[in-house]
Symmetry: C2
Subunit: 145 residues, 2 copies
Amino acid sequence: MTDDELDLDAVATLRGAVLRLGRRLRYQTVGDADLSATELAVLGRIGLCGPLAPSALARAEHVKPPSMTKVIESLEDRGLVRRDPHPTDGRQCLISRTEAGETFTAQTRERRTAWLAQRLDELDEPDRRAVLAAAPALQRLADLP
Amino acid sequence: MTDDELDLDAVATLRGAVLRLGRRLRYQTVGDADLSATELAVLGRIGLCGPLAPSALARAEHVKPPSMTKVIESLEDRGLVRRDPHPTDGRQCLISRTEAGETFTAQTRERRTAWLAQRLDELDEPDRRAVLAAAPALQRLADLP
DNA sequence: TATTGTTATACTCTATAACTATA
DNA sequence: TATAGTTATAGAGTATAACAATA
């Protein structure tokens, strides 16, 4: 393999593995948590980026603004997010997590991490080492624009 | 870090990266066909496991039998799957992909692989190397029971 | 006039309950 | 009687179009 040519078989393996693993991770919590995937994603997004306007949340989570309006309403009804006025722009508002929202996000993250840690524990040592060594690079890969 | 204790920070990083990357990969589909996530998953599942009964597909894709009935109807209407009688049990039927279904699945896989290859190309060399090196281990991780 | 957010309405996907046919 | 699959109906989640308020 040369420097400027990717091994497409390895890429295909990676694609399949990430899709299946991501799928199984998403099922952790979907079952007993009463939140939809987008509601969960919005809580996580705010944790990642800080308070955001509804339009920014809609863009980030690939839904349309009217859908995001409903998602925010639902989260607000459950006391998981709060709506504050934008400091300079009267049209906008900023959505933040409440303390309950932060707790909830932390619990979900913990549960998924625990599930993943259990799976990792079932790998042999070289595999586990390779996967964990690649984690920061995978993070940069996932966060590419 | 000792041998029998996982670095939970690294596991958390991995969790986030796999979830985000999987999410972006799922968005890469064959545009003009307009299949739902479950329809796409069913085509992939049959490719993975061979012809399956509707009830088995429902279990595998975490939907209820009546939902799977509709998914199969839709795929059948598009000519992507075929319904054959079960050889010994008159109640059951077996869902297989048509040639068009196989072509479609291959195209989707190709497109997602191409998207991922492009992203990998934007990483620096050590990151790319780490990720590709971990691909087989990630596959084993994703396929754990 | 353009942008942010909401309301009104319709469509898609999935679930539960009830029904048919076969084992 | 139990199981596989379908039909009928209802409930989420999301989209488009139209509207109100602010820049």
